[in-house]
């Protein structure tokens, strides 16, 4: 996989200076590379991705519920109740 190239502006977030909000976010556990990837998109693209993710999560949740209702997981073991 190609190494991601960051612009100088993006490095504000990727390599934050001590005492900055970005450094606090990084120390808090925020993955700022995700933030940078979001900031490369337009607001419309960001919300579209959020919507797609939400849609997939709902499908996943429904699949898990269905598996529980059937009493078994896909791997064939008893589902945890």
């Amino acid at each position: 996989m190609d190494k991601l190239e960051y612009t100088e502006a993006e490095r504000w977030l990727i390599e934050p200076k001590p005492g900055t909000a970005a450094a606090r976010a990084r120390d808090f556990g925020v993955d700022l590379s995700l933030t940078v990837s979001n900031l490369r998109m337009t607001p419309a693209e960001r919300v579209k991705r959020l919507d797609d993710f939400q849609h997939e999560m709902r499908r996943l949740r429904q699949a898990v519920l269905l598996a529980k209702q059937n009493g078994r997981t896909r791997s064939g073991t008893k589902a945890v109740r």
């Binding site: 502006a9 504000w12 900055t20 976010a25 925020v30 900031l39 849609h55």
Partner: protein, 165 residues
């Protein structure tokens, strides 16, 4: 079309004057936090309350978390008597706020908002500064969790002078 899109389209279709806030606004501003509902701050203008109630009735909105047998009439009088509601609807969860803590009412939110085309729908989205103010003021754990990233994005914009694309 998934739920966030349908929620935004609903308000646009019914011409409800509102500003997108909370998770979708954070997402539009660059946050990587996930959200599952559409939150808006709505205008309490009488005509708008009628459109808002029409919109919510069209998707069979019910109070989220309330007992199913709790009598609840959704018309324009409903938001006149209360400010904030959380609904389950046919198109997902929708929260409507008459006032945003730390920011104020619809007019205050509108003053500090930008128009974005989300799903080809023109939407007013609260500014990053006001979103941070609101989350800091609300102070709930989930709001506080979102703050460090939003503050980092705001700092990034200010330091680099890079505005929204």
């Amino acid at each position: 079309m998934a739920e966030l899109a349908q929620g935004l389209k609903l308000f646009a279709d019914f011409k409800v004057d509102c500003v997108v806030i909370c998770g979708v606004a954070g997402g539009a501003r660059g946050s990587s936090q996930v959200t599952y509902d559409v939150d808006v701050c709505y205008s309490r203008d009488s005509d708008n309350l009628v459109r808002l109630a029409d919109a919510l009735r069209s998707v069979n909105a019910t109070l989220r978390g309330a007992p199913k047998d709790l009598p609840f009439l959704l018309d324009e009088e409903t938001p006149r008597h209360e400010l904030n509601f959380t609904f389950d609807t046919d198109i997902g969860s929708i929260d409507i706020l008459g006032e945003v803590q730390g920011v104020g009412n619809y007019e205050e939110c509108l003053k500090d908002s930008n128009e974005f085309e989300l799903f080809d729908i023109p939407c007013r989205v609260i500014s990053l500064e006001k979103l941070i103010t609101a989350k800091r003021s609300a102070g709930r754990p989930r709001d506080l969790l979102a703050l460090p990233e939003l503050e980092a994005i705001l700092e990034h914009q200010r330091k680099t002078g890079i505005e929204e694309p």
